[in-house]
C-alpha cells in the first residue's frame, strides 16, 4: 500500500482568515456547549468585534468586578450586569446575601421588577448552590449571583451548568474587607471578566451645571479566546443599550490634526 505523495510546501494552501474561522468552528463543535447559541451583541461595533463570536456568549459564566472610590458597593458593576440581563429574554434570578440592592435603580437599565426573582442566602457560601439551581432551569434569561469567594472548581461547575442549560450566569464579585478584595482577582473558569469603573461624566455645557450622561471605564480583563482591552462607554439607556460617548464618536477626524502637528 503506497502512501499518497506528501504535498510540497508550496502546495499547502496559505493560512487565510477563512481557514482559521473554519478551524475555530470545528473546535467549538468538538467542545460542544455553546454551539447553536448566537452571542448577545452589545450593539457597539468596537466592543462586539473584539469579543469572539461578535458578542457576549450566552450559556456561559461571566464575571463583573467594580473598581472605583466605593467599589465595595459595586454601584456601576450592578447596573452593567443588570443591563446584560435586560437584553436577554425571560425572567432573571438574582441571588444575594446583603440587602443593599435598590431595585428602582435597576429599572434605569430597563430591568423591570416583574422579571426579577430574588433569592436571599444567609451566608456567602450558600449563594453558589442557589446560582447553580437557577442555571439548571431552562427558560431563565440569566442568573445573577453576588459572591465573594469563587474557587476554580466552583466556577467550572457553574460554567458547565450554564453550558448545559443555556442560561447565562453573571457573577457580581462583592467584597467587604481588603483581604476579600484580593479574592476577586484570583483566576476562575469564567469566559469573560469585566472591570467597571465609573468615569467622569462629559463636562456639561457652561451655563448648565450638573451631571451629564453617566460614563464607565469598561475593562475586559479576561476573555477566553480574546485579548484584554478597555473602552470608555456611556452607561445603559432605558432599554439596556450602551453607547459611545458623544465626544468620542462625533469628534472631528483626528488625522489632519495629527498631520498638522507633525509638520
Amino acid at each position: 500500500m503506497s502512501l499518497p505523495p506528501r504535498p510540497s510546501l508550496s502546495a499547502v494552501p496559505s493560512v487565510t482568515s477563512a481557514t482559521v474561522a473554519a478551524l475555530r468552528r470545528q473546535i467549538e463543535r468538538l467542545e460542544g456547549g455553546a454551539q447553536a447559541r448566537a452571542p448577545l451583541p452589545f450593539g457597539i461595533a468596537g466592543l462586539d468585534d473584539h469579543l469572539p463570536g461578535g458578542g457576549l456568549a450566552r450559556g456561559a459564566l461571566h464575571e463583573a468586578v467594580e473598581a472605583g472610590p466605593a467599589a465595595e458597593f459595586a454601584g456601576s458593576a450592578t447596573l452593567f450586569t443588570a443591563g446584560i440581563a435586560t437584553r436577554l429574554e425571560g425572567p432573571v434570578l438574582w441571588c444575594l446575601t446583603r440587602r443593599d440592592l435598590f431595585a428602582p435603580g435597576l429599572a434605569a437599565a430597563g430591568l423591570v421588577p416583574g422579571r426579577i426573582i430574588y433569592a436571599e442566602a444567609g451566608r456567602d457560601r450558600e449563594v453558589l448552590p442557589l446560582v447553580e439551581e437557577g442555571l439548571r432551569e431552562r427558560g431563565l434569561a440569566a442568573v445573577v449571583g453576588e459572591v465573594t469567594r469563587l474557587s476554580l472548581i466552583a466556577s467550572r461547575r457553574l460554567q458547565l451548568a450554564a453550558e448545559a442549560s443555556g442560561v447565562t450566569a453573571l457573577l457580581l464579585r462583592r467584597w467587604w474587607t481588603v483581604a476579600e478584595k484580593d479574592l476577586a482577582a484570583l483566576p476562575s473558569a469564567a469566559v469573560t471578566r469585566w472591570r467597571i469603573a465609573p468615569a467622569a461624566t462629559e463636562p456639561a455645557p457652561a451655563p448648565a451645571p450638573g451631571l451629564g450622561r453617566v460614563q464607565w471605564q469598561v475593562d475586559l480583563v479576561r476573555c477566553r479566546g480574546g485579548a484584554p482591552r478597555s473602552w470608555i462607554l456611556e452607561a445603559y439607556d432605558a432599554t439596556g443599550r450602551l453607547a459611545l460617548p458623544a465626544s468620542l464618536a462625533r469628534r472631528p477626524d483626528q488625522t489632519p490634526i495629527r498631520r498638522a502637528a507633525a509638520q
Partner: protein, 470 residues
C-alpha cells in the same frame, strides 16, 4: 347522663355538668342515681359514636399542630412542640384552644407539659394549665396514683397499702415496687415523670393521600433514603393523578428503630404532582436526618392538596414556539427548599417617593403587574440602610456640597445635581419631620453618590450618604 350495661349491672357511663352538681358521677349505679334525682333523663351509652366524635375532635385539633392523636376514651393528644409561638406562648395557645372548644359547647380541660404522661395527669387531676419545662416531676408528685393511667384494680391495691400519691410511689425502691405492682406501673411512672419516651402515633386523616414503605431491614444510607423517597413520591403522585389533585405541602415521616422519628416538611409554590421534582425537594433535607440505628419505616403524606386539572405544561423543542410565560414554580420550590420560602421573593413597586419604602416583597409567583418606578427620576443601584453620616462642606449654605468626608476619606465633588426634595408622607405613618433634600454628586475620581440633608441648612440639617449610582 348516659348509661352503660355490664352484665346485669347498669351504671352511669358519663354525666353532664348539671348532673355532676347533683352528686352523680360516672360508675354510680343507675338505680341509686334515679333514687337521688327523680325525673332523671337517661340515655344508653354509645361507645362507637363517642370514639368517632373523638376522632372528629382530633381532626379538628390538627389546626393547632400536625401531630395529633385521639386518646380513648376521653382525651386528645396534641404535640405542640414548635407550634406554640404561633399563638405567642403556650398559655395563649391553651386559652385559644379552650375558648374555641367552649364556644362549640365542649367541656374541656387542657394541660401542657414536657411529657404526654404528665400532661395527661395534670389535665385530669389538677384542672389543667401549663407546667414549665423541667417541672413535670414536681407537678405529678402530688397527684393521686390514679393519675398514672393504671388499672383501677392496681389503684385499689395501692390505696389499701397506703400509697396514695405519685410521689410516694416514686420514692419507693424500684425492684420491690415493680415486683408488687407490675412493670406497667413502672413504665407509666417513668412516662409521667418524663424519664421514658412515649411516642404519639399521629392521626392521619383518612382522606389524605399517603404512601408508606416499611423495610424488612432498617436502612440508614443517604442514597437508599433518597431512593425510597423517589419511590414514595411516584406512588403518591399516581394516587394524586387518580384524584385529580396536586400537592402543596408534603410531610415525610421517618420512623427509626428506637421509636424516635423525624418529620420533614416541604411546601410547593403551586400544586404539582411531578414525582421527580417532589423527591428532589427532600434531597437536601434528608442529609440533616440522623438515621441512628436505622430507619424502619417511611411515610410520605400529602398533607395539603389542591385540585389540579391536567394541562399541557410544556411543548419544548417545537420550532418557533417561544414560551413567554415560563413556569417558574419548580425553580421557586427548589430554591425555597434550600433557603426557606420567605427568602425567595419578587419586589413590587410601591407608589411612594421615600426610598426605603419604594419596593415591597411579594411571593415569587404572585401575579406580575406592569407597574414600575418612575423612569425620569434617577435612582441609585445600591442603597445604604441605614444612611451613613458624612461631613460635607458647601460654598454657600444652600449649595450642594463641594467636599464630603465619608468613612474618613475625602471626596472632592466636581459635579452636583439637585436638590430633589422628598417630604415625609404623613398618610404612610411618617412622623411630621423635616423633608430631605437629595443631591447627586460626582467626585473627582468618578464616584457618584446620593447624599441628602435631613433639614434645611438654616435649621442645622446634617448630611447623610444614602446610595451609590452607577
Amino acid at each position: 347522663m348516659t348509661v352503660q350495661t355490664a352484665g346485669s349491672r347498669r351504671t352511669i357511663a358519663a354525666a353532664c355538668p348539671a348532673a355532676q352538681r347533683l352528686g352523680l358521677h360516672a360508675g354510680m349505679a343507675v338505680a341509686q342515681a334515679q333514687a337521688m334525682v327523680p325525673g332523671l333523663h337517661v340515655w344508653g351509652a354509645t361507645p362507637e359514636e363517642d370514639e368517632a366524635a373523638l376522632r372528629e375532635l382530633a381532626r379538628w385539633a390538627t389546626g393547632y399542630s400536625p401531630v395529633v392523636a385521639p386518646d380513648p376514651h376521653d382525651g386528645v393528644w396534641i404535640d405542640i412542640a414548635g407550634c406554640a409561638h404561633l399563638y405567642g406562648s403556650e398559655e395563649a395557645l391553651l386559652e385559644h384552644l379552650l375558648g374555641r372548644l367552649n364556644g362549640q359547647g365542649v367541656t374541656a380541660r387542657a394541660a401542657v407539659a414536657d411529657s404526654p404522661g404528665a400532661a395527661w395527669a395534670v389535665a385530669r387531676f389538677r384542672g389543667g394549665g401549663v407546667i414549665p419545662v423541667g417541672r413535670s416531676v414536681d407537678a405529678v408528685a402530688t397527684l393521686p396514683v390514679a393519675a398514672l393511667r393504671i388499672a383501677p384494680a392496681i389503684v385499689a391495691v395501692m390505696q389499701r397499702l397506703g400509697v396514695e400519691r405519685v410521689g410516694q410511689l416514686a420514692a419507693m425502691p424500684r425492684p420491690p415496687m415493680v415486683r408488687r405492682f407490675g412493670k406497667d406501673v413502672a413504665l407509666r411512672l417513668d412516662q409521667a415523670m418524663g424519664h421514658a419516651f412515649e411516642p404519639i402515633n399521629p392521626l392521619i386523616p383518612e382522606e389524605t393521600p399517603l404512601s408508606t414503605i416499611a423495610f424488612p431491614e432498617p436502612i440508614g444510607r443517604l442514597e437508599a433514603l433518597k431512593d425510597v423517597v423517589r419511590r414514595l413520591a411516584e406512588d403518591l403522585c399516581a394516587q394524586l393523578l387518580r384524584r385529580g389533585q396536586g400537592v402543596r405541602r408534603l410531610d415525610l415521616i421517618l420512623r427509626r428503630v428506637d421509636q424516635k422519628g423525624a418529620n420533614l416538611r416541604v411546601g410547593t409554590a403551586r400544586a404539582t404532582r411531578d414525582a421527580p421534582h417532589l423527591a428532589k425537594l427532600f434531597d437536601e433535607r434528608l442529609e440533616t436526618v440522623d438515621p441512628g440505628f436505622g430507619i424502619e419505616e417511611m411515610v410520605l403524606v400529602a398533607s395539603k392538596v389542591e385540585p389540579l386539572s391536567e394541562t399541557q405544561t410544556e411543548a419544548r423543542g417545537i420550532a418557533g414556539v417561544s414560551a413567554p410565560d415560563v413556569d417558574m414554580s419548580r425553580l421557586v420550590d427548589r430554591l425555597s427548599a434550600k433557603v426557606g420560602a420567605h427568602r425567595v421573593y419578587r419586589l413590587e413597586p410601591v407608589q411612594t417617593l421615600v426610598p426605603e419604602r419604594m419596593a415591597r416583597k411579594v411571593p415569587a409567583l404572585a401575579p406580575v403587574t406592569d407597574a414600575t418606578w418612575p423612569e425620569n427620576l434617577p435612582r441609585p443601584t445600591r442603597l445604604l440602610d441605614p444612611p451613613e453620616p458624612v461631613v460635607a462642606m458647601a460654598l454657600l449654605p444652600d449649595h450642594p456640597p463641594a467636599l464630603i468626608v465619608w468613612r474618613k476619606v475625602r471626596h472632592k465633588v466636581t459635579h452636583a445635581d439637585g436638590p430633589e426634595r422628598i417630604a415625609p408622607e404623613w398618610w404612610a405613618g411618617d412622623t411630621d419631620g423635616p423633608s430631605r433634600d437629595y443631591y447627586r454628586l460626582e467626585t473627582d475620581r468618578g464616584g457618584r453618590f446620593w447624599v441628602y440633608r435631613d433639614a434645611p441648612a438654616a435649621e442645622g440639617g446634617r448630611w447623610w450618604l444614602h446610595g451609590f449610582f452607577a
